[in-house]
């Protein structure tokens, strides 16, 4: 029984981390119809910048605030000066994000070296909680809580605000939104920056147990892609459910069958794609 509770909590914490990661990717795709491959780099940059902030100030919370903002600005600049030049040329945009992914990978390797860093945890979350026989790290509970809060905030913003309705309208029919006189380039820029913000946030939050190392950008990008494909591209609810599915599958599948670590994630993805080509919550 203890085993199942601990593993479920493990799966949930990993799933929530994946949600933070995949939410931005899904949002950007939903609106702009491009798969932003730089998303993995935003994660890694977030983790590295977070590490730099912690090393200088010793404050995890400060890292949590500064790193995502820095990366959001980077995302903003990238959209404004690179992606917008190729508006509506989806292939060129995807290739461009792929190129920036490589540039970021080399830049981070150059700046931070080939080492694998684990971000130090904030002291108030360093301890473990004990319930009867079960010992569980409090940081992982914090990750679960953060994921739920961010999901709620995103849901509220998307469903209850004007900005949210503009985004949702943009997802449905971008031309019509433009026809209504809404400044879509500005909207796109904002959403792209938000996506970068969320990726960097997941980088800082994931830092203490996933860490920052060369190649993490590609690994998390792959996981995020699996999540949005399972959940349905562009659907926030899909990203949430997809993250939980992947997080739990990975946790329960990986330990008994380490040789099949990839299989336990990709096989369900293939099955879901075969049965529902647009993912669980995606629309044609």
């Amino acid at each position: 029984m203890d085993f199942w509770i601990v593993q479920t909590l493990n799966g949930l914490s990993f799933g929530m981390l994946l949600f933070l990661l995949a939410a931005g990717l899904s949002l950007v795709f939903g609106l702009m119809r491009i798969v932003n491959l730089t998303h993995g780099s935003f994660y890694l940059l977030g983790a590295y910048i977070g590490l730099a902030v912690i090393e200088r100030t010793g404050s995890f919370l400060l890292a949590l605030a500064i790193a995502p903002l820095c990366v959001a600005v980077l995302g903003l600049l990238m959209y404004r000066f690179l992606l917008r030049r190729f508006q509506h040329v989806a292939l060129a945009q995807v290739l461009l994000t792929f190129g920036v992914l490589f540039i970021c990978a080399d830049f981070t390797l150059w700046e931070w070296g080939g080492y694998s860093y684990v971000l130090p945890k904030p002291t108030f979350l360093a301890a473990s909680l004990t319930f009867g026989h079960i010992v569980f790290p409090s940081y992982r509970l914090f990750v679960i809580a953060t994921g739920v809060v961010i999901a709620l905030v995103l849901w509220l913003v998307l469903e209850r605000t004007t900005l949210g309705s503009m985004v949702r309208a943009g997802v449905d029919d971008e031309e019509m939104v433009r026809g209504l006189g809404i400044n879509t380039p500005k909207l796109f820029t904002a959403v792209f920056a938000l996506g970068a913000f969320l990726a960097a946030l997941s980088g800082v939050i994931g830092g203490p147990f996933v860490g920052a190392y060369p190649g993490a950008d590609f690994e998390v990008l792959l996981l995020a892609l699996v999540v949005v494909i399972i959940g349905g591209l562009g659907s926030m609810r899909g990203a949430f459910v997809g993250s939980l599915v992947v997080g739990l599958l990975d946790t329960f599948g990986r330990a008994p069958f380490p040789e099949l670590a990839m299989f336990t994630i990709f096989a369900p993805m293939a099955i879901i794609l075969a049965l529902r080509p647009h993912g669980l919550f995606g629309r044609a």
Binding site: Q87, V118, R254
Partner: protein
């Protein structure tokens, strides 16, 4: 400025385009093409303009390739390989027997395929006379046939402890100054049974040949001593979240024998502590994984109280080692780990063989013969190669302790002159099944 921009755009951006259409903006692609061309021209010019190699000296230099996984999960240990080699070069002023010696460092990114590619590059393009380094067993095994065909002496000095590397189809070109998978865990297993009084054990390791063999070496020796291995857990290399594995760990065992290397090791031992197991179930390191000196600054507090087994640790109390540690510390500001010393020994072995052959590394038969007779006063103590060209070495068992405010591996026992055949006749030992084939046979 604004007017200029307008003119260039021809207002194209303001025309609504069909979603997903492929309307192109020729001016942009033209600008891009010109930009790329300019960049290419600049780069080519840079290459042409770069200084060419200095004129050949009367005696051609000896070139040694250093192969290390400078990026990837073991990057911290890789630094030890390069620094150990460079320290030796400093001590001999870049010269051996009157010939200049050049090191060429290559990063194999902790991937076997890359290791092979980089070896080919080192041999065919750089023309190295010998190769040292390599941590990943699979990489060393992948390189072996090529090394043999090209007749390039290769001294494994990172780790690459797998038994098949030296025992199956042994190559006269392959040497190893680290240790073999049975060599270091076996004394630890006896120690764990006799001194720590452990009777049941779980083994946990990274899922690759070298790390599997190390915990299997422990498991075999532990059962031979009278203990019982009740569970085997393997985590893929590069595992970030050990929660699922720690969740599966049986709570009723006396000891966890581990070999989780590099960054994975740091994450494992930290998460082991977070899940409340530190101090409840003793962890022993079957070889320097979690307790590797390069990792102690990160894993230190969580690793306190662990026991580990290794052929070299910087706290060995002898004058030769103190001199080495002092020099290493002065140059790099940290303590040398196993790969640093083993690579330093590899360079010293090459130096000794060169001295014996009058600096002639080109006569391979003579050079190999001299290398086989290595007889060195290494920092770890006196070392030689056995018939299968693997090092015969003392093995130290250490405990991670806090001395003052420093976290230090304290030597608690030294087992002198251990070879890879564990004292058996080589022919008899080689008939035993390879350790890697024992995977999955315990805990049934």
């Amino acid at each position: 400025m604004v007017g200029g921009k307008r003119r260039h755009n021809h207002g194209l951006q303001d025309i609504p385009l069909k979603k997903g259409g492929t309307v192109y903006q020729p001016r942009h692609s033209l600008a891009l093409a010109i930009g790329v061309l300019t960049l290419l021209v600049v780069m080519t010019a840079g290459i042409i303009g770069a200084p060419t190699t200095p004129a050949a000296e009367t005696k051609t230099p000896i070139k040694i390739g250093v192969l290390a996984p400078l990026s990837g999960p073991l990057a911290v240990l890789a630094r030890d390989i390069v620094d150990g080699a460079r320290l030796y070069m400093d001590e001999v002023n870049g010269e051996m027997v009157g010939r200049k010696v050049e090191l060429t460092v290559e990063d194999y990114e902790f991937k076997s395929a890359v290791a092979l590619t980089k070896t080919k590059k080192l041999v065919e393009r750089d023309g190295v006379h010998a190769v040292v380094g390599v941590i990943l067993s699979a990489a060393a095994i992948a390189m072996k046939d090529y090394i043999h065909a090209q007749q390039v002496p290769f001294i494994v000095s990172g780790a690459a402890v797998a038994e098949p590397l030296m025992m199956d189809k042994p190559s006269p070109y392959v040497f190893r100054t680290t240790f073999s998978a049975s060599q270091v865990p076996t004394p630890l297993a006896k120690f764990t049974y006799d001194k720590l009084k452990a009777r049941t054990a779980t083994v946990i390791a990274g899922d690759t040949v070298g790390t599997i063999e190390l915990v299997m070496g422990f498991a075999r020796a532990f059962e031979e001593a009278g203990g019982k291995v009740v569970q085997e857990i393997y985590a893929p290399i590069g595992t970030t979240d050990f929660g699922p594995f720690i969740g599966r760990l049986r709570r009723d065992v006396d000891v966890v024998a581990a070999l989780v290397a590099g960054a994975d090791g740091i994450r494992f031992i930290k998460q082991y502590e977070e899940f409340g197991l530190k101090g409840k179930i003793q962890v022993v390191d079957t070889a320097p994984g979690i307790t590797d000196i390069a990792l102690l600054p990160s894993s230190g507090p969580s690793a306190l109280g662990m026991y580990a087994s290794q052929p070299y640790v910087y706290t060995i109390d002898n004058p030769r080692n103190q001199k080495f540690v002092q020099a290493f510390h002065t140059k790099y500001g940290r303590e040398p780990g196993g790969p640093a010393e083993a690579t330093y020994v590899a360079l010293a072995a090459i130096h000794q063989a060169l001295t014996a052959t009058g600096g002639n590394i080109e006569d391979k038969a003579k050079f190999l013969e001299a290398l086989r007779h290595m007889d060195l006063d290494a920092p770890r103590g006196h070392v030689r190669f056995d018939k299968y060209q693997n090092i015969i070495t003392d093995v130290m068992i250490t405990r991670i302790d806090k001395v003052g405010d420093q976290i230090v591996p304290v030597v608690v026992e030294t087992i002198p002159g251990v070879d890879q055949f564990l004292g058996m006749a080589p022919e008899a030992y080689i008939k035993r099944p390879r350790l890697v084939t024992l995977k999955g046979t315990f805990g049934k």
